[in-house]
Structure formats: structure tokens, C-alpha cells
């Protein structure tokens, strides 16, 4: 079983709710779900669609081919009918007229008979449940769990009526369901909460905002200050103030907002104050596409900031990865007293995927804060010269008689402005040599596929899911292919790449940008050369199907 349903219509027609119900019903029936969401940047009108793919096996990408289109308007059929499989079906209201042999159902008419036009989508949902062989009782249960009590009853009736409208086509077995259904931003937010983030601030910007919203939902219970700031400039400066005072703090935005944080990122570098910042990349430059995806900020994240300072950049590859890496980022930021930058992307921020529940017991909290015994000198030195470059970090207000001074100027060990040439060199070197210990903690990219593959894919971040599907399918066909998927990407790890790259006949770079930014890093840090590239920058994510298709042309 591997089935894809597209639900499309205008913004405001209730696609989101219908998809939310259907994907949960399928999940609770024990199937793996992958829901891809394609929005235009508007609140009403336009054309939006979502695709629910489900299977008895885990799915990590959306499918280009469609088994069913459930269209709320005619446009949704016209846009997508070319992707319909030969035996695919289209379901739409009988008031929408086309010459095609589609399934026309009295959705609006049935809704009207229930005195509520708005429940037409639930009538259609009922019809689809029966068609796919999903039990009505489960449907009603999910509606009850997910809908507000005052609208549940009429929607339940609509669902029941719809269930009678279409004959059963499939009989699928109930499977055990222990999975969660989650998207990348929810997972990132949960990772931050689990890590003990006590201060989150930001300025709303698509597609980053739902992280702030999710944390805000649990803020009072978890004692987290969630603060909407006047601008992103203020946000990072404020988060740095909170971190200096000793709490774990985070901010995030999309590319344009992150651009405004760059001045303060440089500040974080010189004051050596830990901070976690995420950039939910969208299509750029400037405003670009607010609701579409891209991986064009890699070089920007690596180099953002005036002057030279150490930072770590981690690309998030899946919701699961987002959860664990976000929590890890707080430990690394605390340990090395550096900014740790997380890169996610629009596609990852909101696709929904089933996954086994996250293991919170795997999360550790490592603060690396100095205590009284670490202060050996009479006057505390915030920037004490040490062998590994990491100075004992005291937070203000802890020890009577000791004060903590951080400074954006070049400073001496006490944190005081100091223009002495020798001190300058020593201080730059102190900050820089933290990289030696950090490098030992950098994780090599994930590897999937054939051992010592002839064809080696290199990619990073959220292209992971589609690449994984493509590699699996091509391995099954007997092709020697594997993929390295970068998560930790700065400082750039090269061991695995060198090892596998040397023996590969082809190295194929796959990225959502037009210039091959990962490829440029490979050129910079290894002697390897990418032989081929699949670069997509139309704002739409690659699917497993598309990668297989494009690799077929290459190999």
C-alpha cells in the first residue's frame, strides 16, 4: 500500500482542517503518513493544496504521482490532473462541472440539508473514508478529539452522511499505532523546551513563527518567557542579555530576519555568550517566496557577522533530527560559549510525518557554568586565557564580591577595553582555538545506501527524506548508490566524505539552491570534485520520484 491523496482549494476553504483530520485517522489506523503542504502566501483565495501519502512502510517524501484528487474547486483539478495515475480518481462536488469522468458527489447539497454549508468538506471526508476502507467509528472518534465541541455534532452527521455516498474500493487492515505525527517546527520547539530554554524571543516571520507559537502554548507551565520583540535586531540582543544572566535562550527567524540579527551574532562571538539561533530558510533573496522552500542561506549562515569568530552550524534533516539536534545545540553553545546556528527550511517546518515518540531520556543538560571554586583569582576574569580557549563562565549575582563584565570591544581577561597589540592577538587566538575541541564533537554526515557506492550523493538538511527514498529505490534496482547527508555542517566535517568520495565514480550534489553551496564547501575543504548536480530552486521541494527521475538521466 502506497497511496497519495491531494486535497486542494482556495485559502479559507478548510483544506487544513480536512487534511488534519484525514491524516490523523489514517495514522491511528496504524499507517505511516507523510503530509506535504503547499501554500500560497495569502489568507484568502489563491490555490493551496496538501498531499497525504500513506503506506504500511515508513515514508520520508511526498509522491509526485497521485492516486486521488479531492478538489474543493475546479482549479485544483486543472492544476494537478496531469499527475494523476492511470487508475487515479478525482472527487469533487457535483456543482463543479467538467466533461471528465470524475466522481461527482452531492457534498454541498448534503451539507445544506444539515443546515450548515461549512460541513461540505466533512461530507467529502466521510465518502473518502468509506472508499479507502477506513472505519466510520474511528473517523467519528478523531473528529471528537480534534474539533471544538460546538461544531463536532454537525460534522459527525456530515461524516456519516458522506460515508454512505461512495462505495468501498479498498479493504485495508488495521495495524498497531504507536506513532506520533509531527512537523519540523513542532519538533524543534519541543527540543528547545526539553533542553530547558527559558527565554525565547522573536519577531513573526513565515515560516519560523510556529516555533514561537508552540513554545508560547506551554510557556506558563514550563516557566518560559516568550517575547515578541519590536524587531529581530532587538530579539538577538535581548536573548543575549538573558543568556549572559544565565538562562538558556533562543531566537529564530527566516532569512530576512536572520539578516537583521547579524550584527548581534558578531556580538555573541566576541562576548562569548552562548546562544541558539535558528533560520527557517525560505525562498530568497529579500522577500522571495514567503511560503516556499530553499537552501540558499548556507554560505550566509557560515559567514554571517563582521570580524572572525567561531560558530557552529547544524542543518536539520527531519523532525526527529530537529528535536535531538536542537537540544544538543544548547549543550554545545554552553560548553564552547559560542552561537550555535540551526538551519531548517520551509519544507521541513511544516510537512507532517509519523515517527516513533521522541525519547526525552536521551536529552542531557550540560551547562558548564563556573562555580565559586573555579574563580581562583582575586578579581574574576571572564576571559581568562586557558589552554583550550574556554574561560570559566560565571553568571552575574552568584558570588558576593565578584562581578562579570562582557564587552563588545576587544578586551582583556577582565572584559575591559584593551587596545594592546599582544593582548589582541592572544584574545583572538584564545577564541579561535576552541575549534580544536569543538571539531572532536562534530558529527560526520549520515550515510545511507550501498557500501562503497560507485555513485555518491552529497546533500544536507531537509533533502534527506527525498534522497533516502530515491537511494532505497535505486538500491532495490541493484544500482550502487549511497548518500551522505550533512547535519553538522560547520566546522565542515570531511572524514567520511574523503573516505567514500575517493572511491566513487560519480559524486552528485543535490541541493535546493542555484549555485551548489555544499559543492563549494567540498571544493574548499577537500580535493574531491562533484561530477554532477541536481539543483532545484523553483521554491518547490524535491520528491523521491523526482530525484529518481533525474538520476536516471544522469547515470
Amino acid at each position: 500500500m502506497d497511496y497519495t491523496i491531494l486535497i486542494g482549494g482556495a485559502a479559507g476553504q478548510g483544506i487544513d482542517t480536512t487534511v488534519g483530520l484525514l491524516e490523523r485517522i489514517i495514522k491511528r489506523y496504524g499507517y505511516h503518513v507523510f503530509t506535504y503542504k503547499n501554500f500560497m502566501s495569502m489568507v484568502r483565495g489563491g490555490h493551496n493544496f496538501m498531499q497525504i501519502r500513506f503506506s504500511d512502510k515508513p515514508v520520508t517524501s511526498y509522491s509526485t504521482k497521485l492516486d486521488m484528487i479531492y478538489a474543493f474547486n475546479q482549479e485544483s483539478v486543472e492544476f494537478h490532473k496531469d499527475r494523476l495515475k492511470e487508475d487515479g480518481v478525482v472527487i469533487l462536488d457535483k456543482n463543479i462541472s467538467t466533461d471528465e469522468d470524475y466522481i461527482y458527489l452531492p457534498l454541498v447539497e448534503t451539507a445544506k440539508s444539515l443546515n450548515n454549508d461549512k460541513v461540505a468538506s466533512s461530507v467529502g471526508l466521510g465518502a473518502i473514508l468509506n472508499y479507502l476502507g477506513l472505519p466510520l467509528e474511528l473517523g467519528k472518534k478523531v473528529l471528537e478529539d480534534e474539533l471544538a465541541p460546538k461544531i463536532f455534532e454537525v460534522n459527525r452527521q456530515a461524516l456519516e452522511r458522506g460515508y454512505e455516498l461512495l462505495e468501498r474500493k479498498y479493504n485495508i487492515d488495521k495495524r498497531e499505532d504507536n506513532n506520533i505525527l509531527i512537523n519540523g517546527n513542532q519538533a524543534l520547539a519541543l527540543g528547545a523546551i526539553a533542553a530547558g530554554c527559558k527565554y525565547y524571543c522573536g519577531y513573526p516571520m513565515t515560516p519560523s513563527s510556529s516555533v514561537m507559537t508552540y513554545i508560547a502554548k506551554h510557556a506558563n507551565e514550563m516557566r518560559i518567557v516568550v517575547d515578541q520583540i519590536e524587531d529581530e535586531v532587538g530579539a538577538l540582543n535581548m536573548a543575549l542579555g538573558a543568556s549572559y544572566a544565565g538562562v538558556r535562550a533562543m531566537t529564530g527567524s527566516s532569512g530576512g530576519g536572520f539578516a537583521l540579527m547579524v550584527e548581534a551574532l558578531s556580538l555573541a562571538g566576541i562576548i562569548e555568550t552562548p546562544i541558539v539561533v535558528f533560520n527557517a530558510q525560505r525562498t530568497g533573496p529579500a522577500t522571495g517566496f514567503a511560503t516556499r522552500t530553499e537552501q540558499a542561506d548556507l554560505r550566509f549562515m557560515i559567514h554571517a557577522g563582521h570580524g572572525e569568530f567561531l560558530r557552529m552550524v547544524i542543518a536539520l534533516r527531519s523532525p526527529e533530527d530537529a528535536f535531538y539536534q536542537t537540544a544538543r545545540a544548547f549543550n554545545l553553545a554552553d560548553k564552547y560559549q559560542i552561537p550555535v546556528l540551526l538551519m531548517t527550511e520551509e519544507y521541513l517546518t511544516n510537512y507532517n510525518i509519523t515517527h516513533e515518540p521522541f525519547d526525552f531520556s536521551k536529552i542531557t543538560i550540560e551547562r558548564h557554568l563556573a562555580t565559586e571554586s573555579d574563580v581562583t583569582e582575586e578579581r574574576y576574569k571572564r576571559y581568562k586565557f586557558t589552554e583550550n580557549g574556554i574561560s570559566p563562565r560565571l553568571i552575574p549575582g552568584q558570588i558576593k564580591g565578584q562581578v562579570v563584565l562582557v564587552d563588545s570591544h576587544e578586551h582583556n581577561e577582565y572584559g575591559n577595553i584593551d587596545e594592546d597589540a599582544d593582548n589582541r592577538v592572544k584574545m583572538v587566538d584564545k577564541r579561535a582555538r576552541k575549534i580544536d575541541s569543538l571539531k572532536e564533537e562534530i558529527q560526520e554526515p549520515w550515510f545511507i545506501g550501498s557500501d562503497s557506492p560507485e555513485n555518491l550523493i552529497v546533500c544536507w538538511g531537509a533533502t534527506y527524506g527525498a534522497v533516502k527514498e530515491a537511494v532505497n529505490r535505486l538500491n532495490e534496482k541493484g544500482l550502487s548508490i549511497g548518500a551522505l547527508i550533512y547535519g553538522d555542517i560547520w566546522p565542515f566535517p570531511t572524514n567520511k566524505l574523503n573516505e567514500l568520495g575517493r572511491n566513487a565514480k560519480r559524486i552528485i550534489d543535490i541541493e535546493h539552491n542555484s549555485t551548489g553551496q555544499l559543492e563549494s564547501l567540498i571544493k574548499e575543504f577537500t580535493d574531491l570534485k562533484c561530477t554532477d548536480r541536481i539543483l532545484k530552486y523553483d521554491g518547490r521541494p524535491l520528491s523521491g520520484d523526482e530525484i529518481v527521475q533525474r538520476l536516471d538521466l544522469l547515470i
Partner: protein, 282 residues
């Protein structure tokens, strides 16, 4: 004295108003018995912003225009700390204007001392947001063509609950204003006139002496409309003292867990506390 602040040698010009402001700050903090490890001075960039280097308190010397945001972050993270944000007129009303406006709206319990010498000192004499219209500077050869910011009127308009003006030339008066601002529960805006002996030959010590007057004892600082009129007074004498002071709900206290809980910085962190949220995703 149990509470004592150490002083370090400044690089300010001889005669700079910053010396007196620093001395007043030291005296105010000592008289309030706020020990150095419990005080944080947060600044931006400029001559005034060097304050944390010259007085032995905790210090966060950040970026130009960005003194308020980290100050707010510090206070929310650890309510036990006394936070004083200190910077110049260019830093606060120019580069940091947006933060200034919204810090007033947010009303976090911090004191904000603006060293207002009506000129840029560190960058050598350009017009600042409070330089008088028409005043010639090292950059504005034909005179400043912009209307000056009226800081106290601005903060009153934005809803500040504590608005005051001091003068570096009267230390005793300034110490009192600083103590009032520090102990005020909420955002306290204290604009401090100070002469810049090198770059501002108009607004000299003498000029401030001649152009200011003290608000009388009977002045009612709870009268908003009157305070606004006072904030606009300029050519016929500029009032010194507390123009406006009322009680207001603070942002800090709007978080029940801050108001009634331990400081956030003391919270025990346990990842398992968040595990319960998994249930939302089944």
C-alpha cells in the same frame, strides 16, 4: 561601609560630565545598599557607554543603539539583579530609537540613564538627535536641519510611568533622581544633561545652568497633562526633577511564574518535564 563600588581610571576628557554621572551612580548604588555583584550596568557604544569599565559592577557593554534589549533580557532572566541601562543620546534616541519606544511599552523594571550632551562625542562632533536645529557641527556645516527629539515628551507619549531629567552639574540632585529611578517598579527614564567640553560649544555647563530650573516641591508629578507641558518646555527654561511618576503594572509581574516564583536563572532543568507534550501528537 559594607557596600562599596570600586572605580577605575576613565579615558573621558577632563571636565566631561560623565565623571560626575559616574560619581552620582556610585553614591546612589551605595546608599541604596545594592551590592556590586547584584547590579548590572548595560550599555551600548559611545563615551557614556564605557561606564561599566570604570565602575566595579557587573557589566554588559554591547552594541551601539542596543543597550535596552540585553538589559531587558537580563532582568527577565534574573529578577534579583538591579539593571541599569546607560547610554548616550545618539545611542538611545538615534540608533536605538525603536528599542527605546518599545522598551517603554514593555515596562520592565529597569532604570534607564541617558547621558544627553546633545552631540556625538566618540565619533567627534556630529549632530545627535537632541542637537538644536541650526546648530553647526563638525558635519552639519550649514547647521542641523532636523527637528530635535524631545525625549521626555516621547516617553510620556509612549506611556512611561517614570520620567525625569537631571543635570551632571548638580550631583546631589542627580543622586536623588537616580535612587528614585532605581527603586521605581517599572521602566524609569532619566535623561541627564551633561556638557561635552570638546564637541559642543553651545550647550556648555554655563548654558545648562542658565537654561534649567528645578521643579518646585509642590509640583504634582502625577498630573500627566501638566507633565507633558513641562516636557515640552525649552526656550524659557528647562525643568529638572521628576516630571512624572505613577504606579503601573510591570511586564515582569505579568508573568505569574516570575512574580511569584524563583528567578528563572535558578530553575532546575529536567528534559523529562516536557515528555508529557508527546501526547498532543498521537
Amino acid at each position: 561601609m559594607t557596600c562599596e563600588y570600586k572605580l577605575y581610571n576613565p579615558t573621558w576628557c577632563p571636565g566631561c560630565g560623565n565623571y560626575m554621572i559616574r560619581d552620582a551612580l556610585k553614591q546612589a548604588l551605595e546608599e541604596l545598599d545594592i551590592e556590586p555583584h547584584n547590579a548590572v550596568i548595560v550599555t551600548g557604544i559611545g563615551q557614556a557607554a564605557k561606564m561599566p569599565h570604570y565602575i566595579g559592577a557587573n557589566g554588559f557593554n554591547g552594541l551601539h543603539g542596543r543597550a535596552l534589549p540585553p538589559g531587558i533580557g537580563v532582568k527577565l532572566a534574573n529578577k534579583e539583579l538591579t539593571v541599569i541601562v546607560e547610554s548616550g543620546d545618539g545611542d538611545t534616541y538615534g540608533e536605538g530609537g525603536n528599542h527605546f519606544i518599545h522598551a517603554i511599552r514593555r515596562n520592565v523594571n529597569i532604570a534607564h540613564f541617558v547621558h544627553d550632551n546633545q552631540i556625538y562625542g566618540l565619533t567627534k562632533g556630529q549632530g545627535s538627535p537632541t542637537t538644536a536645529r541650526g546648530q553647526k557641527t563638525t558635519l552639519q556645516f550649514d547647521g542641523v536641519k532636523l527637528e530635535p527629539v524631545k525625549p521626555l515628551a516621547l516617553s510620556l507619549t509612549m506611556g512611561a510611568g517614570f520620567v525625569a531629567r537631571g543635570f551632571s552639574g548638580d550631583k546631589a540632585h542627580l543622586v536623588n533622581l537616580m535612587k528614585e529611578a532605581i527603586t521605581y517598579n517599572g521602566y524609569a527614564h532619566l535623561d541627564i544633561f551633561q556638557p561635552c567640553v570638546v564637541w559642543n560649544k553651545i550647550n556648555t555647563f554655563r548654558w545648562y545652568k542658565d537654561h534649567t530650573y528645578y521643579l518646585p516641591d509642590y509640583y504634582d508629578y502625577t498630573d500627566y497633562e501638566n507633565a507633558y507641558k513641562k516636557a515640552l518646555e525649552w526656550d524659557d527654561g528647562i525643568p529638572l526633577g521628576i516630571l512624572y511618576k505613577v504606579e503601573k503594572d510591570t511586564y515582569d509581574d505579568s508573568f505569574d511564574f516570575i512574580k511569584n516564583g524563583e528567578p528563572l536563572v535558578d530553575a532546575e532543568l529536567n528534559p523529562m518535564d516536557a515528555e508529557k507534550y508527546m501526547k498532543e501528537f498521537y
